[in-house]
Structures are given as structure tokens and as C-alpha cells.
């Protein structure tokens, strides 16, 4: 049985929509009936599988300079055509165009729940901005192989519109979206490991199954004051909480942190604290919380004048299986609060 013919909208810039060159880059969003300009390649690739019902066009400068207005207007034009699929571009190496394609696809997916696909060259800034959210097929830098490349966009777009399973990036030709999915490999992990090691030992090329993380290096800032004049805060991801865990910080995969006052305390009374952390043996820090958060020694340093002042609030979360996104957010929030409070330096204890 033939699949239902799909309604498709094509998004193009002024050049590929045949409105004109750079002199027309300022034109605002407009819609043209049927397949116009490069959208005809989309129609050709679709064959009987679908019909380009409308071509939506926007000038590169307009889309780049007035994105806040242009994208919602374009979304409305797409919505009016009631498509099953939006094919944006391909934008090749055209930067403003690529960013507009990515932004429009992301907005259409999110607001209209309609499948989208775009395509561009790997150095197009639109790739890094949108590949996590939008299926972006890799193309050449220029439109020399337009039809072949549009064929690949459309093939992936049809799968997405029909809700069919999408294969891995290498097979489908899209930029990895940075999400992981369990699949069943052809050989056991042990066999793959031995084989990869033999390749590495022999100097043959091998492909690691895990991309290297792109943790940006965070240089430690220099303390501009002397320690004698500095306010020092204690922060930990080792899970120290007041008994009863008032902020309900999760034992694993934490999304919350707590701020706990140590005002008037020269040390921490073990009976008043607890530790929900499930990533390490907490026996010893429960027995004596100073093993994790050294309030006792810090107070002595404050008394003796070795440090200016101990900040009266400690911050604590549970650092185990925490997502990078939550870690970064919590770190940012804690850092902002510390800066507002005039803290100069932090002793961060981790486990």
C-alpha cells in the first residue's frame, strides 16, 4: 500500500527563492504557491511521496537582523500551509541562511509539532547552533550537487514525517545530534575492545565508541586580595545536609542544592547533619562532617586572622550521576549568590 502523499513546505532565502541576490537580502517573510526556485528540487526528490504546497522565502539580512520578528512570522506562514514536513534549505555554507533554517526548523518543531529537516555544510554556524534540536543533513559548501543533496534531505524528512525509525548519523548523513541510544552491536564489548586495542597497537585507524568530552577548561581566577582580607566560603558536592534533608536533595542525579547557615557555629555537630549521597561510602563524613566541610578549621583560621572572614552560608549538593546541564546551572547560581554576598574565594570539597 502506498503511503499517503505528504504536504511539504520548502523554506528558502531570497537567492534560492529566485527573488534576487544580495540586493534583495532585506526582503521580509513571504509565501509563494507551490514549489518555486530550489523548492523544485525538493518536489523532484519527493516524487509521488509528497507535494510542495508552498515555498516560504525570507531575505538573509532580514532573517538575521530581525530574527525575533521574522521567525514567528515565518512560523505563521508555515502553519497556514498545514504541512506534514518542513524542508529548510539546503543552506550550504551560507551562514545567515543556515542560521535562519535552523531557527525556523527549531521553532516549527516546538510550536507546531511538525517534522522538519535542513541541510548545510559542516562549517555553517547553523550546524553548531541547531544540530542538537534539528536533523541537519551534511552538504557540500556550494550548490553544485543540489539535486543529490536535496534527495538526502528529503529521504530523511520523509522518515521523520512518517514517524519511521531514523538510523545513525553516518548512515543517514546528518550531523550527530548529541543524544545517545542503546543499540545492539554485532560483537560483544569484550571482542570489540580487544580488536580496538590491536588496531591501536598496530597503528591502524580505529574509532572510539565514545566521543571525547568537550569540557571547556576553567582556569582558576587569581585571588586579588591577601587571604587575611578575604572572605572564604565552603561549598561541597559531597552531600552534606541538615538532618531531615530540608531541601530534599536527591541521592543521585541531583537537580537541587541547599544553602545552610553556619552563623554562630564554631563547628558542625554530627547529630544535626546527614548525608544522602549514594555515590560513595558516607560512613566517615556522617561520623564527622568536618571531613567533608571543614568548618572547624576554617573558624580557627578566621579567629587567628589567617583568613579575613568565613562566609556564614555553606552550599551543598549531591554530585553523582548529575547531568552536565544541572551541574552547570547549579554552579552558576551558587557562584552568583557568592559574588553578591561579597565572597572572594571558595574552598570546594568534592568526593
Amino acid at each position: 500500500m502506498a503511503a499517503r502523499s505528504l504536504r511539504v513546505v520548502s523554506f528558502l532565502n531570497q537567492f534560492f527563492g529566485q527573488l534576487g541576490g544580495e540586493e534583495k537580502a532585506g526582503v521580509g517573510p513571504q509565501v509563494l504557491d507551490g514549489a518555486v526556485g530550489a523548492a523544485r528540487a525538493v518536489q523532484q526528490a519527493l516524487g509521488d511521496a509528497g507535494t510542495v504546497v508552498a515555498t516560504v522565502v525570507c531575505g538573509d539580512n532580514h532573517a538575521a537582523e530581525q530574527a525575533d520578528r521574522a521567525i514567528p512570522e515565518l512560523v505563521a506562514l508555515v502553519a497556514a500551509a498545514r504541512p506534514d514536513l518542513l524542508v529548510a534549505g539546503p543552506a550550504f555554507l551560507a551562514g545567515r541562511y543556515g542560521v535562519a533554517c535552523g531557527a525556523l526548523c527549531a521553532a516549527v518543531q516546538a510550536e507546531l509539532k511538525i517534522a522538519t529537516v535542513t541541510g548545510m555544510h559542516r562549517e555553517n554556524p547553523g550546524v553548531e547552533l541547531y544540530r542538537r534540536r534539528v536533523y541537519t543533513v551534511e552538504t557540500g559548501a556550494e550548490a553544485t550537487r543540489m539535486l543529490a543533496e536535496v534527495n538526502r534531505l528529503v529521504a530523511l524528512g520523509l522518515k521523520l514525517a512518517r514517524g519511521e525509525a531514523v538510523g545513525p548519523p553516518a548512515a543517514e548523513g546528518y550531523f550527530a545530534r548529541g543524544v545517545t541510544k542503546n543499540v545492539v552491536a554485532g560483537a560483544s564489548a569484550a571482542e570489540r575492545a580487544v580488536s580496538m586495542l590491536l588496531d591501536k597497537l598496530a597503528g591502524r585507524p580505529f574509532v572510539s565508541e565514545v566521543p571525547r568530552p568537550a569540557f571547556p577548561p576553567v582556569p582558576a581566577p587569581r585571588l586579588v586580595k591577601t587571604l587575611e582580607g578575604a572572605t572564604i566560603a565552603l561549598v561541597t558536592d559531597g552531600g552534606l545536609v541538615p538532618r531531615g534533608n530540608p531541601d530534599a536533595i536527591e541521592a543521585l542525579n541531583a537537580t537541587r542544592y541547599g544553602a545552610y547557615s553556619i552563623e554562630g557555629k564554631s563547628s558542625l555537630d554530627a547529630a544535626q547533619y546527614d548525608n544522602p549521597h549514594r555515590g560513595y561510602d558516607t560512613t566517615w563524613v556522617k561520623q564527622d562532617p568536618h571531613r567533608l566541610v571543614p568548618v572547624d578549621v576554617a573558624r580557627e583560621l578566621e579567629q587567628s586572622g589567617a583568613i579575613g572572614k568565613l562566609h556564614e552560608t555553606i552550599y551543598s549538593t549531591v554530585g553523582v550521576a548529575t547531568t552536565l546541564a544541572h551541574s552547570a546551572r547549579m554552579g552558576r547560581e551558587i557562584a552568583e549568590k557568592l559574588r553578591e554576598a561579597g565572597v572572594d574565594a571558595v574552598i570546594l570539597t568534592s568526593t
Binding site: 531514523v166 545513525p168 548519523p169 550527530a176 545530534r177 548529541g178 543524544v179 545517545t180 541510544k181 542503546n182 543499540v183 545492539v184 552491536a185 554485532g186 560483537a187 560483544s188 564489548a189 569484550a190 571482542e191 570489540r192 575492545a193 580487544v194 580496538m196 586495542l197 590491536l198 591501536k200 597497537l201 598496530a202 580505529f206 572510539s208 565508541e209 565514545v210 566521543p211 571525547r212 568530552p213 568537550a214 569540557f215 542525579n253 555515590g279 560513595y280 561510602d281 560512613t283 553523582v320 550521576a321 548529575t322 547531568t323 552536565l324 546541564a325
Partner: protein, 421 residues
Amino acid sequence: MRLELRWSVVDDLAPGPATRLAGRRLEVDVDGLRALLAADSRLTGVRLDLVHPGERCRIGRVFDVVAPRAKLDGGEDFPGVVGGVTRAGQGTTLALDGVAVVATDQQTDSVGTLAVIDMAGPNAELSAFGRTRNLVISAWPAPGTERSDYLAAVRLAALKTAVCLARTAREAAQPDRVEVFELPPSPRVPPELAHLPRVAYVFQIHSHQRPTGVDEGILYGDPVRRMLPTIVHPNEVLDGAVLRGFMGRSVTTWATQNHPMIKALYAQHGRTLWFAGVVVTVAQATEPERVRSAFLAAGLVAHTLGADGAVLTKIGGGAPHVDMAQAASQCEALGVRTTAVVEDMSTDGSAEGMLLFDLPGVDSLVNIGSSQEPLTLPAVDRVVGADDLAAKLLGETRATYGGLCGAIEQVGTTRVMAEVR
């Protein structure tokens, strides 16, 4: 050292008047075995169930899975835990193929954290234990029994059962196949094979994220509390010297007894590589311990075993993952090329969270998938090992790959992997 595994294939498991192997049919004297296991004063009440592949049955609360093995000569059964402390890995061991002993933990209450085995449907395909005939042990703690003592008792029951079942093969006329593991002392390489790269395996056998119990025998019955990296012969691992700790995740004793990395290295030994030996380590709890353990392990690999390359696996969660990577990095620093088997550590399915380290030289990684990825457990007709949770476990249930016992084995038995999309 030479170890012979004499395999008898079992294709039916049924109750019978005596525990015996009748051709390929394993008959179990269920009442007799139950009485033997119930004699442990730490347990009150033991229940045994037999389940078969293809049955719409779910085993709940899986604690560990043990492969039936019994020494015919040359040593003790599970030395240091069942038998006396003596060297494992030599002589002859009887092994049954197609049958497994599944121990359940009746103190695990949260449906979200327990591990299950499905005997039919898509999940049976994902786990080796969906394809074996399983003898399931459910035992309850006697009043006043501490958790660690209870788990020690359950584990001992599983090991004794494994021995009892494998002993039936003594009477077998002919084993179905014989597997021989023979590795000379590591420096003795014949000149014609001296060109092969020497490869070691660094086997993390436990994680100190949680302290071990007194009776939590892991290496020859030792709870490895202060263990530093040490060298063992691979045959010792295959022959019952190493058992899983009580709180392992995505790791079974069965996988260690059929260790896939050791078998893969044996398979290539003398052909594409020279198997230089095994270093066992534990994941440490503090940074100084991790650093010390990492360079000691790397030293054994590079200086003692003289390896050119090493493969590494971990057990447990994030800290062991980093511990293994530190050992790999120390190996690389000594010129030993490494490949490590990692779990996808991301908890939100983002590729950015897959790894918890970025260390020099640790650039060739194999992954065993994400244990956090959701999985659907379809409705079944019968639940064993978790009678009181049957209402929840009979119907369609949400679980994760990590909750399906045997879908992911950290030592590398399994084929599930996380692909970046």
C-alpha cells in the same frame, strides 16, 4: 597453568526424585535441595522455582546469577567461600551449558531499583538469562539477620546449588565439549611468537563506594577491603576465585565465570597477541587511594607483565569509571596502549555526559550502553522471586536497561552499546 572445562549441555530442567543428569535432561530433587539450603540458620524458608525460555514468566528481584560448576579434580569449589582456600584455575571442572542458578534478594522493595529477567519477549533476547533454564532461589532472612549476613547466606545458597547441579555431570559418559585454557608463565614466549604484542587485562573486581561485609568474599573469599592491585592467572578468574560483591550493578558472577574478556584474549592468544596476564584491582573511595592504585596497577602491567597493551573494565558507577580511566592513563604514561570498556554515564541521554573524564591517552573506548535508558517490560503470566510484587510486575512495567539482569554486563559479555545520534 592448565584448566579443562568439561561442558555438558542441558536442554531440559525438571523436578525429579534425585538430582541427576539424564542425557540432556537435568532432574532436580527440589525437596532435597531445599532442605540442604534451608539448613543455613541465617535463612528462614527457601523456595525454588524452575523457569524455562519461552515461558511468559518474569523473575523479580534478581540478586546474582551463578553458572553451575563443580571441580572434578585439582581444587575446591569456589575456594574461600564454598570450599577451602586453595588455588583455583587448574585441573578439571565440570560445567553445565544452558542452565543457570538465579538468586533473588527478598529485601529489595523498590520496584524502581530491582533487577528482573524476562523469559519471553524482546527482553529475553537482550539477556543471556532469558535463554537459559533457570533454577530460581528465593530465601528469606531469619529474624535478627543483618543485611550483609542475609546476602552472604543467599549467595552461598546459589553457589552450593551451582556445585550440586554441576556434580551431576560426573556420571555423564562423555562431555559435549571440552574447553582447555592453558597459559604459560608470562615471560616464556616462544621465539617465533615474540613479535606478537603482549596484552594484559586490568580487571576491576569491586568498588569501595560501599564497604564490603565480613562474609562478602570477592577474591578467594576475601572481602578485598585493603586490596592493592595484584596479578592473578586468568584461569583463576574462570574457575571461581573471583565472585561479584553484594551490591554490583550490571554485573553477575555468571559473567565472571564465563569471563568474556579473558575468553577473547585467550581466543587471540598466540595468533594476534600474547596474553600477558590479569591484574585485579578495586575501585577506591578516595583520591590518594585511587592514584596509588592506578600507578601500582600500571606498574604491574608495564614493568612486571611487560605488556604493550592493556584492556580495562570497571564495576559499579561513576567513581569506578574514573578509577579505571586513571589506571588506563597511568598505563599510557608508561607507554602501554589501552582500550577501556565504559558505560554511557549520561543520565539524560546527552552525548556530552557519556564520560566523566578526559585523561591523556585514554582515547579508545568501547561502550556497553546506557543502563539508564528506559525499557518496557511487557505483561507476563507468572512472576517468580517476588510474589508480593506480582501485582506490579505482572502487567506492563517501565524499567531501564540496568534493571534487566544480563542486558548489560560491565565485563563486556553483552552487545548493547550506546550510539551517538
